[in-house]
Symmetry: C6
């Protein structure tokens, strides 16, 4: 059972995108809420996250902790992959989705539900490339979304079919501040938030990406 | 051995509903109590909860922590699946049951034992769809309950047999505040609680559910 | 090697009852002591407790923490299944035994060693049904005990042989306060303790047990 | 490699006894030291203790914490099974050995190295029966010890060969205070310690041991 | 998908080098960020680090903690192996890469992205030898880097092909202060940092390396 | 790759000795550093230590904590087995090596790198016997060391070949204070340290070692 929302603005809810099996995408929403901590504040993520997904939440938390005005040592940050089901969530491509949901919940700024997104995140705010962007864009289009945010480094990987091309705008982003500029609603408050985020994250990858190779996983020796 | 209660009002006790095997439901009560913490306050859930059930308790705690007037950093919240037995509890469909039991215990407001319920919960208070609603409703009817709360998103899945249809009222809910409005007893106190809960949770899914598809478990890539 | 005590009064020691194999019972005493905590207070239970037994100790602790006048955050509560041996303790039928031993140790009130007991416990003080009551009662009789406390919900399950019937009084209880009324010694102090416990636990199952069915283990979906 | 000491007095060192394989005993010394805690005080036991041995150390700690004048929340209690080797330590028969070593270290009172001992311990100070007493007594005699402390409940199990009978005195004890009366050296200080321990532990098994049966491991149901 | 940066200066980002399979190297960047701790400060490293890689981060932290002016008990140090992928990071040859990234983030001094590096690190600041230096140097050259830092103890292992020899400068280092002197940018600030680091780490291996043998892994007995 | 140092004085670095396979020894250096703790002070040992090696570090910490003037609750003690490799460190024969490295780092007193050592340690400072002393002494000689410290209880096990006999002095020690007297450099400071250590550790094994038998691992019953 899945509930899809592709209209209006909702606080703490973001339409994420995932790949299912070999060649199909799916909307996988993330919800966040900030609550007073029972003990020492912590980040609590549910959806049976595998190790890589757990780590992506830790990377996101680096930016949240730098960004927040609130003293997070007295707050619990709840993150819920709403329809993750029994098999749980793997990979790190929901990083920008999680970051957007948490910042929306922290700042009480609604997220545009016509926007869907996919992208990994560095601890310094860079949006890093992910897999399956084409299938994900098509899934967002089918679900009725109007805009899909993808990593700038994945721009050359987009090969969506014609029927979807007119349905959605594709917005490549290279920094989390650009993501929030697109996804959040409510002008004056949003703009100051985006500016604050820009000044915090800097922009590590400004100086030219020399190349992009896919490969197996290397290990230092 | 199971003890079933389907009459009167009891604090901190709620008639949950579960599916057994392929095609039968069962009443599975949840009890809660609030006690002074020995060290730092924590949520302690028993009934041999599997990962998904543990996580559903964490999601519920987001709402409890926002809702409570009491300083929960000095309280332990005990949650007991009373008849879970050796195999324990899986899934997240008892989320609203747990939330109702804990809020009843925190606020010293009795729960109507003629009510049974099933439903998942988001960290922001939305009641999310679950499986097996038909079998669960029939189990509640057989056990003598008069009212069964189900998620609004499961309304179209109800196909109970005629013999049960007259025995129970089915109440679809989309927010935890609606659940408590039906399940708690004692008017003036309950109403102020429900109002407070409404203002805290907001209503993330107001803007129209676009569709509902069942499917296998997707993972971000 | 087992040491059996069935006479006199001892603080912090209670004759529990267990089932061995298919069809025989055994006395399994529980001892408790309260000590200054080295760090933050905790409950320390030994006897190689399996998950269900560990959880039963957590459920008992809900009542202990509500009941105690002492600040338990500076105390360790030690619980020892004295003759648990290499295979350890499973199940939750020693819950009332553990509760009685700890309260005796906390309050310095002796436990009547002519009493043996079996029963599960809810976090709100209800005595819940267990298995094997007949074998357990016979084991208590053989060991020389005069009184056996069982859950009220197990009353209809008692089918002891004639030779034992005259040896022991069977006392069905539905609340932990009734258990302590029977098991503790020393009148005025005990009575005030039992009254205090009654007011704390309430009585969740007062309103009529609708039925009692045995079954396999259900899980919420 | 093993170092055996069977003469003189040493602080924080006690000659324990263990069974090796089917039918032979061995001396297994325990050493203890008290050090300022780096963080929060804890009990640190080395010798690759299996679960039952770990739990026996926890049971011992109940008595240490009640007994100590020192604030143990700022102290680490180090316990070392000196010659445990690769296979580690199992069982709970070194409980009185551990208790004696720690109390000697805490109080700076030497332990008589001509004494060897075996015995389990309840959280309230009772010496509980163990296995293999005959082989253990013979091992102590072979190692040159003059005195062997065993649990009173094991008195009837002693069947040592004639050649050893004249070499060692066997001292059955039922309370940890009796053990320390035999094992510690240095009269006035020791006596006040033993008195203090007596008043703390009480004597839970005073009222007559009804019987002693060996058996397999029961579990509550 | 991999993003390679080999130009300009970036804070908290260092081009590490790893070996892939038998005979090829790869650039594996490390990013670091310092954030206010939610609870007690900790080092959080992502990239699915295996035990040896986890330990290398702990060794690096010894130097960071001695070096930092900031009170790290209120800071979380985030370390991210950006392109580690599903198989994660093993080995300790990224130690100097991690140290450089963290110190750059702590001090807000950019790292020269034309530099790549490999090297293990002792808790006292010595650069220790690693494997695969030749393949790693070639990978750095292919990726467009101008300078490669290697451990001084690996100097004799370098056997790069002629085509790469002119592309990169190889800089052997024996202390972390030398590494930072090469890798950081911005003269006056960098120099004082390098001096401070020199005085903290000392130089444990000054007194002559007697030999270098490769071998299997020994264990104390 | 291994770096061997057998000359001069270095703080926080000690030449340990290990056995490799059946019949050969190897130098295995240990390095230590003391750093401000990020949270609560702890001992952090790297080199993929197996359980027995972990426990030997805990035993060493008993002496360090008693010895140190510094408040270790605000310090992290880092211990690094520098060339442990992928298979890690097992056994407890590096205990005196670890103790020497940490005390050198704590007190800023250099360790004589012409000295190598092997020996286990009790929590009260006794040097306990280890295996493989002959092979270890030969390895130290081959590596150019002049002095080898071994446990006094291993004196009779030394059977080195003639060619090595003139190369190294063998110094048997029975207490950690004797070890440091040989291994540390810098007279006046060292002497006061050794005296302080003597007064702290006492000498548990003064009263005569009755015998030394090798055997399999016994367990208390
Ligand atoms: Ca909010
Ligand atoms: Ca649309
Ligand atoms: Ca209440
Ligand atoms: Ca009814
Ligand atoms: Ca007491
Ligand atoms: Ca009797
Ligand atoms: Ca002492
Ligand atoms: Ca003798
Ligand atoms: Ca910075
Ligand atoms: Ca270049
Ligand atoms: Ca130092
Ligand atoms: Ca030499």
């Amino acid at each position: 059972y899945e509930l899809q929302v592709a209209e209006g603005g909702v606080e703490g809810r973001v339409n994420g995108l995932a790949v299912m099996g070999e060649d199909s995408g799916i909307m996988l929403p993330v919800m966040a809420e900030i609550a007073p901590a029972q003990g020492q504040g912590q980040v609590i993520a549910t959806g049976q996250l595998k190790e890589m997904a757990e780590e992506s939440v830790q990377n996101v938390s680096a930016i949240i902790k730098k960004f927040s005005d609130v003293n997070l040592s007295e707050k619990d940050i709840h993150i819920q992959f709403v329809q993750a089901g029994q098999q749980g969530v793997d990979g790190d491509s929901a990083s920008i989705t999680v970051a957007t949901a948490v910042i929306s919940a922290l700042e009480d700024i609604p997220v545009d539900q016509t926007v869907a997104m996919t992208g990994s995140l560095s601890v310094r705010g860079d949006v890093l490339p992910v897999g399956g962007v084409t299938h994900k864009i098509e899934a967002a289009a089918k679900a009725g979304c109007d805009t899909v945010i993808i990593p700038k480094a994945n721009e050359q990987d987009v090969m969506i079919e014609d029927e979807y091309e007119e349905m959605v705008d594709i917005v490549p982003c290279s920094n989390i501040s650009e993501v929030l500029d697109v996804a959040l609603m409510g002008e004056p408050k949003k703009d100051s938030l985006v500016d604050r985020l820009k000044s915090i994250t800097g922009s590590a990858l400004d100086h030219g990406a020399v190349g992009s190779t896919s490969g197996s996983n290397p290990s230092p020796q």
